[in-house]
Subunit: 222 residues, 2 copies
């Protein structure tokens, strides 16, 4: 890593997507400057670095922005390929498997979970069932391995584990227990939390819950 | 490429997603066995090779299935990395840019376009405007380059060009002209069609239109 490199992460503290990037940078030991974006009053800087989506996280590396969290994870793994751990294995089939599951989580879990804390009545139940279906499929893929990446955190681990901060919110709104439904996945999440890279990156579950409560009051007059 | 390799593409003829894989295989010159899946009576083979989504395309390489079209394109580029062209550049920032745009197209264009030929009234107009917004953003990214990949087809070209077969359907249902709205993108599409890999892989626009008409009658009693 060159000394004159500039690495900036533009994020919002509760974002599970931005949390992925924080974990990745901690795992590789890459220092970076953190800029907290005000999502309720988005900056012109954010529009400039992510004109298509205007969303966090964005990684700005030597003045070049990279958007979308999974895309950033692949970039970080490639540009700092000399730093372990590698988030993707070298075998193309294992890489394809990891990308499949990371994309599956990325496309489905957040949207399903929103139904639990934004929806009411029947929609909440639908959301809970969707979240459990996704988590059980993912738990099946984990199997007996300590991490999806094997012995180390890999692309799928880093994609999924930020949602652990939201389990309390999902369980409280949805009135269910992920520990009861997916014990293997909970054991995995606790294993991840033993890693300093994860423990220091995940937002506090109660702070997250209170934030979502406030957000609901503000937007949906719940 | 070893002689004892087995490469199978499971697809449905009108799928723009499967068409991506056909183009990729033609570009690299990889022979494969084609299996047409009956989407109205899905096979147990499809459930076995894509248990999560039960969708085409699936590439089965030496008995290992790979699902999701962009994932397959990356796999094909990695496993046959000795065959040109490479769909992704070697520079990590260029790779991240290409993945960003390929994912943007993959996530937004098909869904927006469905509103044009499935929706009615106002929803059709919304769909048309969304499709044009996406195409214009993509056209801006192309700029003055002959292809998104530079001088050759790359990940973004292969992701986008199968939709060219559907332009006639979108324009007929939505009553608009892509040529008028996005002349640069139309010139790009015609450039792509001069490649044999593209011309032989794309389904016929009129056959596609008639198929979607029949599908609408069947499902939506239009």
């Amino acid at each position: 890593m060159m000394n004159d490199e500039e690495v900036i992460l533009v994020n919002f503290w509760s974002s599970p997507f931005g949390c992925r990037v924080k974990i990745a940078m901690e795992e590789k030991g890459i220092p970076y400057k953190y800029i907290e974006e005000d999502l309720f009053n988005k900056s012109s800087f954010l529009s400039a670095i992510n004109p298509v989506h205007k969303k966090v996280p964005v990684l700005v590396h030597n003045h070049k922005p990279i958007c979308e969290s999974l895309n950033i994870l692949e970039y970080v793994d490639e540009i700092w390929s000399d730093r372990s751990p590698r988030f993707l294995a070298s075998d193309p089939h294992q890489r394809a498997q990891a990308r499949f599951w990371a994309n599956f989580i990325d496309r489905e879990l957040y949207e399903a979970s929103q139904k639990i804390y934004i929806g009411k009545g029947e929609e909440q139940v639908v959301g809970k069932n969707e979240v459990l279906r996704i988590l059980k499929l993912v738990e099946g893929e984990l199997g007996d391995k300590p991490f999806f990446g094997g012995d180390n955190l890999g692309l799928v681990d880093i994609t999924l584990v930020p949602f652990y901060s939201r389990f309390y919110t999902w369980e409280t709104f949805g009135k269910f227990s992920i520990e009861e439904e997916c014990p293997g996945l909970m054991a995995w999440a606790k294993r991840c939390m033993q890693k300093e890279s994860v423990a220091k990156s995940l937002p506090d579950p109660l702070k997250t819950y209170n934030f979502i409560l406030e957000l609901n009051k503000y937007y949906y007059k719940k």
